[in-house]
Symmetry: D2
Subunit: 346 residues, 4 copies
């Protein structure tokens, strides 16, 4: 059994991780830390787990936690995983960080977008960007995995085959994403107050969202040259799900079926990516509750653009599920252990 | 492996059953019938199951279906399971009927409330009302199980300990239930048109809903005398979940903790009923995605009433999950096989 | 023109009042106070009013406000209107208080339910409970109107004709209410965090909600004897609307049409109460955006109970609209000035 | 008083028109026709109008209708307004058509996108595209106004100042729109079944939506050259509202404030367009219930693109409100008669 702990367990991503780990057949959940609910049983904070997770939440006490854990998951606001990572690695444990601190290879890019000093730059070369469909081999031997952001997961998977094959003009990429509200976490804010969100949709972080450099880094890697994109996230009145609608100009005349074949080939080994048949496009409802990323596309011959649409559950493939997937790979378990199964509908 | 078929597989309850059975470790799904989608792969009708359920839907062809099935589930409009049941039993197969045709012991009551002739009255004595927490032993040896209605499941479980112990004045029972929209099925109607339901709540079937006699039958059995209730269902703008708020006058002065103890004792062996600690009341969100029925209560000393609140997922404990639970019992499997695990939150 | 000010303008009830007053043909809005947004233009706090309400929010400065106002509205947490009321009345201005401080006639009842000392008990005899359909004449000459709570508005209007005529056993009254989330205000709390509310329904304040004594006071007045009720509010995933489902045992055999006639007669002069035809029951969607209270009912001959269902927009008839209605009456304006017009659908 | 009739009154756009016209101070509503509800009072079909609109719905009987009407509104599926228009004009009445039949100047374009023969091509030269902010003068003298589609309204208003001034590369325009469900009408379909829509977002009509040529026609007119765009609509889980997020590459280096100034200047006389201050972007919630189009924008210096975001209420500025605005202009009334007032929040 892999002994696992979660630091920052009482946010939505943390709680989803606790749910997944608590029913993972090869994992024993040993420690849960939280800033706000120390001393309470986890089910008191998340009553859906009443009868399932009796562990008492504790304040962060890293040495004790490391003594009993094989792997640590951090689900913390950015800036808070750096010091933790150093200790985890020094203790010889594995770390999957669901935050942003180790996703960007370049310290300067991190500091420009997050406006924060990076205090563990020496660890960046050891961090692997944990998108298994792209970096599976590196994850296998990694001790420090930077779990991707929710928006980047949906966008990179949707674009990877096109960029890898050099089929689109990378200067024309527009990524328009729509997210459910759980992506904003459980922290209170007027932005996530029920009546402010319900029955409304809005854009936010236009031309400034921090997932932008993360997408550009990975898309550049795939394209083999620097890629700059337009990315706009939107807050959508639903609990879970991200839909990304992506536009790019094709460099050559290609039919929908040709491109779909490339996608199917590219994702041949990817258990969680479902390339939909021609004529079918994803809705978030198809994937909510699962670790899937569904992808569909349309070639628009009038404009010469391809429109790719992808859908994920932001808390699963966009966070906790992908973290478990990474752990499975790191520990030599079948990649879908504890993650198999379709979503829940409706 | 238990070979299972679903007749009426493409409604919401049927599809949820397909999802549960497709990942049930002791079940092999063999046949799915539907009126509207014959010839299509099941995932074409429910794309969340793309990659999971490739079975081609067929029109109802009972002899063929029975040849390959150990158990048949029917999820049909009332009146349609009678003829099916006769054939299933004659063929020596087991039947779990998710509809209303075999829930009421009295033919006349069925005919009064459903305004339909019952054409298989000879089977009624063989039918067991499939609420395992009340009738587990009978279900074990049954071949024909009448899976309870969603509202009755939530109401009977909430009241059973009180009636069994004779603690409330049965003339004062008021059951006010709030259901998500999936309970109304996938059939098109103005009532379930998005903009008509969204941002609104309403009562329906006031003093006339067909789940009333079903509740009265079971509550009378528990009380050992005829019980007549007021029951009002409400349509609530959410996909899943039923919350029942139940009022009854106590016959003696009892404290909350005393009554909760009785509940805990009554449900000691019930894996899916969670009696909540004092001070905690259920919300549907705590149970959605699970086979749980959560129950909490408050004693109101001002009025002498007890207020019991219960929550279920109408498609799982209120339909498909309970049907699987019944099948498990009928086939000697652990009762929670394929049903373990908490709900999904948020 | 009536010069009006709002103290506590930036909560949802306050903002709705600002919207209604800003388009009221006989009102000039002169001052808006707020604890949190002083110095900002009102439209910055509520951008739907961009171009409509440019008034700069200020901190509470009562003397200045009174110098320019004919009427003051207070939309404050309980306990905060007492001192304000004394000053307003001393200055000879009129006050409509949307809070709870002046609704209960008995100081002791207030203190028992609100657990707070009442510091202006000498004003209670001058306060009129501002439900115009019941107390119109008193409101006409009042200087201090206590605007009713949202739940009491929906419940009292639904029961008034029955109690006034002595048709039901007052010991059997059960009021089960379902409210949209705006009733909980704009203040941040986990309870009103989007993902916690969305796709869920729950009961709260069972047997302890502070609107209970308010209902009992008014129902007792109507019945001419002390009435004790069971009241359970529920939080429903929608922005606006309250639906109350009310149960009571009839003291004599009466038909639905007979009772509806009594209701029509009782509300003959009430512009905002719509007694629905037999066979029709209200949904909150029918009234949202309007100052209406819609009422329908069913007589259940099986149980001897009548089930009355009422619907209001909690922010309009349940708060701001009713406050304007009261002001209209106090200032001799037609009762529906600035309030005419149906709701918005869907 | 202008005597007005609505043909196709019982869809959502028709009903919203009835609501607006019924409280319009210069309009008398004389006739309402419907295919499905003839013989019923309008309030029976739309109970929020109980007490407001008692007119009995009738089947379409054009001569009788024309005898009593000054203006006719048609809210019909495409293809159905052509014959009506001919009769209305021959009778010397005015027509505002909320459908698509007269929006496109070119018969061939209509036939290519709608796959339907246009049977009144001789009327096209007389039809004016009813976007008052662009074509106010022509509308003033028109007898046949083609009320714009909902998506085109949001997109054209958002782009007009940029195209009129030639500031963007028209080959790079991407329009990503998100609509509430009422835009799909009241007709039953699985697509608008509550549980299919709720808690999900999806793209539809990718590269093929019929509002595309309408946008291209008007944008081409503004740009003075042929414009081809990418347009993707999305179905969003909310009742009302359209948010359009629009991307285009700037042809020169311009600051946000410079562009906002151009917008303010362009819309100086437009009562219903609100150009938001820098730093503020629209949400649909800001405009729902009003005839506003709110516009905000961000200049992205990294990519050289401008991102414009606009929001409307699809049933008001996107349909019925704009139709009333057009009627006001045609009949010499102040443009905002019956349309003044902000939206409703929350």
């Amino acid at each position: 059994m892999v002994k696992a702990s979660v630091i920052g367990a009482t946010g939505y991503a943390g709680a989803e991780l606790v749910r997944l780990l608590s029913s993972h057949p090869a994992v024993q959940l040993v420690g849960l830390t939280t800033q706000s609910y120390a001393g309470q049983a986890f089910w008191e904070v998340y009553p859906h787990l009443y009868g399932y997770v009796d562990i008492i939440c504790r304040e962060q006490d890293l040495p004790a936690l490391l003594a009993e854990s094989d792997v640590v998951f951090t689900a913390l606001p950015h800036g808070h995983a750096m010091a933790v990572a150093r200790e985890v690695l020094q203790a010889g444990r594995a770390l999957v960080d669901l935050g942003a601190d180790f996703r960007l290879h370049e310290v300067q890019v991190y500091q420009d977008w997050y406006r924060l000093e990076h205090t563990a730059p020496e660890l960046l070369p050891r961090a692997v960007y944990g998108l298994p469909e792209i970096h599976r081999e590196k994850i296998r031997s990694a001790r420090l995995v930077a779990n991707p952001g929710c928006y980047p997961t949906s966008a990179i998977l949707a674009l990877a085959p096109l960029l890898k094959r050099g089929l689109v003009d990378t200067d024309t990429i527009v990524i328009d994403s729509k997210s459910g509200v759980s992506g904003a976490g459980r922290g209170l804010s007027l932005t996530t107050h029920y009546c402010e969100v319900n029955e409304s949709i809005k854009a936010y972080g236009v031309a400034s969202h921090r997932h932008t450099p993360e997408m550009e880094q990975e898309l550049s890697g795939l394209a083999g040259k620097r890629v700059v994109i337009s990315f706009t996230p939107h807050l959508t009145p639903m609990n879970r799900g991200i839909l990304s609608t992506i536009y790019a100009r094709l460099l050559m005349s290609l039919g929908q079926e040709e491109i779909l074949s490339l996608y199917r080939e590219f994702y041949r080994e990817a258990k969680f990516v479902r390339v939909l048949p021609a004529g079918m496009l994803p809705a978030t409802k198809m994937v909510v509750g699962s670790n899937h990323c569904d992808i569909g596309l349309v070639v628009d011959s009038r404009t010469g653009r391809v429109v790719v649409v992808s859908a994920i559950d932001n808390l699963i493939k966009g966070a906790a599920g992908q973290a478990v997937q990474n752990m499975n790979i790191m520990f030599g378990l079948p990649e879908d252990t504890g993650l198999a199964g379709p979503g829940m509908y409706p």
